[in-house]
Symmetry: C3
Subunit: 352 residues, 3 copies
């Protein structure tokens, strides 16, 4: 039902753009893309996951991008373009397409929005309706701000950053260049800081720090990054946060770390670089997680991870291998207890 | 403190509407409703859950709806109305009440909102303030759009659909008839697609597909449904998604499946029809879950579920029965290990 | 990068305000604050957590707040101010600072917002742009409502309450005094109530109750509190709800209970007073949780907790001590099974 379409392109033109090699008909044309398992004539598909190899020989797609080193087992109907990395090449094509599309994008500053007089904005700002830019904000060049966005006072936003509709950014936040904030995300809300009183009640601890998102950070829809109590909550360069993720006050996340949906990082914890955190993972507060840590979905990281590159699973998280072994035993617990009971009987018999 | 009130209705009038049978006083009147355990004179309650049976003989409610086949153990003070299904009848009464109330609802198109000139809207549109309808949108008849709603370009919305305040709908989304989107929900944000590069960095994969919500779909507050990378993320007829749920790119969910709060379905997975997914459940990517699968809260579905109607629990999820047995053993782990140690001693003694 | 600054204050002035005792130079000045481990000249830090004691002797901070009863092991470079409770004193300073800052805050009612003619507002309302206050709303004194806020009909909001940008409040909600609702939170959306039909489909149950937030309640960013089916969902005095938390219909939460991020409480459950619920915890529906229950992150409370003050962990949750013991055995499951197998062999040998 999506009516998005490429213009017509020949295999030859695509191969040239991707610096790939054609196997088949160089003049065949495509005007859309498809998944290899749903390929139709006139579309381009790609093959990267070996699980899908068999589709290559069945697909109706006119052109398929494959890895250079892919070993063909039989003839294909499709024209092939061999490239270094089929997935990357495919992504490049999509990007080219999106770029051509963004040329059609709206521009200009809506009169239905508010820019505080003390705010400064760069060249080529796009500002849609019903958005507000607070006092002393500094907005860079080529920034795109969609509708119903609230930007508090003293916020700075770097060049080329895109703020989707319905985003809320609290005062003093610092957003880098080339960032993407998806709809409903909240940057800089007050962290959950309450000091227990003798009375048993809680007294709110003022949260006077801020949030810093470095360049190329992406924040998913309805995700939250809380401001620091003091200092800054920092997401380093190219950190990617999925939808509905919670980043608490004073957290620091190392560059290029990715965190999947519904995960939470508690206050003051520091995650390393290039970590991959699955969905619904929890990280306890005040710990450090080493670079390149990989953490399976639904895990709970309950203590500092010192060694780089560990793969963890479980709540509390242990090594993935151990967790998976222990999980099998957990599943077979009734049989194991039966074996124990049998032994008890046998010994009772032997001891008679 | 809720001041919502029915007008006065007699038991007779209610019984007639519900086609029920009165046991007690047909002229007794009610002007409000209550829970059976908190029933007060002048209110109507219902009894459906056997756990609450004893309240029937104590309640101060003037009228109680009960199932036709309910066996009375003693006299009740309340007038009873016997119906086929007390819960359904009660729901019908509430619906009638809400309908009468929605008659008071606001109508018309606010001049404080924006409708792109290229958009088309059906009859009887209600559009509140500070909302935006993008280029080439197609809005059906009797659609209600509350305040601060952002609707991107090329979105279509079917008849009778209600979009609550603060909803964000990205471009190209297709919303069916009779849908309800609750506040803060985000439809069509870009999926979490990043291709790992040799450098260890991630390159964003453009997400050029869309979201399709079929008729009678309900999306909870602050829930997210991501657009597909290619093709469509699809929620079939009458799918119900609770608050704060994450549906990733290219997921497909079968009709009448319900998913409770804080659950997430990862990319490209397909859930069957009539599934019931509890809260905080995670479904891994690229798997298929059979029709009528029931999944207990906090479970993690880590592999394809082939057999229809299975009941699952745990992370990773196994059959609910097995999980519950193994959980009991987990809780008694210290005693089990003690039994093992005792045996080791006994055998050591025997072997001497 | 945060440019937030105190004016210059002397140790003497601060000690006087806090009624503390100076050890060191009473005329030394600070104009900012810092964490003790990152202390710089010209800043004030505090020491409350014994883990950080050693930083006291290394910090470059000019002034450090410490507890009166702290035992100094050696000399410090910093000037110390001894107070009853260093953490509380620090919080008081921050509060003072925020108050001074809010003096700069904007005031007045924006003409770019909508107030229904039938609504009443108290003195000193601050209302930013693009917000809407519905029919028959009653807004107290000194209320602050930021931008892009949607407030439905018949909502009441008590004195001094702050509604951050992008909040959505459904009709009939009752918000107390001195509450704080963070961005993107949704109050009063319809609970997840669907009655299964014989056909296998679900019929929506109208949700005609409301939400009541008592005084001093704080709701985190993008958190959701659903309206009751009948009656009210109630958060008692001083309840604190973190970001992305889900509170279902007809839940009641006792005063001063705190719930961390990404947790969910299912329909009709009642939590006691002074409970502390960790992150990603799930509470099943229709149960009661006793006062002062403490629940570790990622736990699942699956049945009523009768005894006050219990500490729980696991899914399903058991006592934290038992959970932690059983977790150790789970981690060592392979070795335990090996011991079992060894015993089986030995007995087989003995029985020969």
């Amino acid at each position: 039902m999506s009516k998005i379409k490429f213009m017509n392109f020949t295999a030859e033109a695509i191969a040239e753009f991707l610096q790939g090699e054609i196997v088949g008909n160089p003049t065949i044309e495509i005007n859309n893309i498809s998944k290899i398992e749903e390929g139709k004539a006139g579309t381009l598909a790609f093959l990267a996951n070996p699980k899908y190899n068999h589709y290559l020989y069945e697909t109706e797609a006119s052109i398929v991008l494959i890895n250079k080193d892919f070993h063909l087992e039989k003839e294909t109907k499709a024209t092939l373009i061999k490239v270094e990395n089929a997935y990357e090449s495919f992504a490049s094509l999509l990007e080219l397409y999106q770029q051509s599309r963004s040329g059609e994008a709206e521009t200009g500053i809506s009169e239905k929005s508010t820019i505080a007089p003390s705010a400064t904005v760069g060249e080529n700002l796009f500002l849609s309706d019903f958005s507000i830019i607070g006092h002393n904000c500094k907005i860079g060049n080529n920034v795109r701000i969609y509708s119903n966005v609230s930007i508090g006072n003293n916020v700075s936003i770097g060049d080329n950053t895109i703020i989707q509709s319905g985003v809320n950014i609290y005062y003093d936040s610092v957003i880098g260049k080339n960032c993407m904030l998806h709809s409903g995300s909240v940057i800089g809300a007050e962290g959950f800081g309450f000091a227990p009183q003798k009375s048993g009640e809680y007294k709110k601890v003022p949260q006077i720090g801020n949030v810093i998102l470095e360049d190329f950070v992406e924040i998913g829809a309805n995700a939250c990054v809380d401001r620091a109590t003091i200092g800054s909550t920092i997401l380093r360069r190219a950190v990617k946060i999925d939808n509905l993720v919670q980043i608490a006050h004073n957290v620091e996340i190392g560059e290029s770390t990715v965190i999947a949906a519904l995960s939470g990082v508690s206050g003051s914890s520091k995650l390393g670089k290039y970590c991959m955190i699955g969905g619904q993972v929890g990280v306890i507060g005040h710990i450090t997680v080493a670079d390149k840590t990989i953490c399976a979905a639904q895990s709970g990281i309950g203590k500092t991870v010192k060694k780089s590159g560990e793969i963890l699973q479980g709540s509390p998280a242990i090594s993935l291998k151990n967790f998976q072994k222990s999980s099998v035993y957990f599943r077979n617990f009734p049989q194991l207890v039966q074996r124990l009971s049998d032994l008890e009987k046998e010994i009772a018999d032997l001891s008679k």
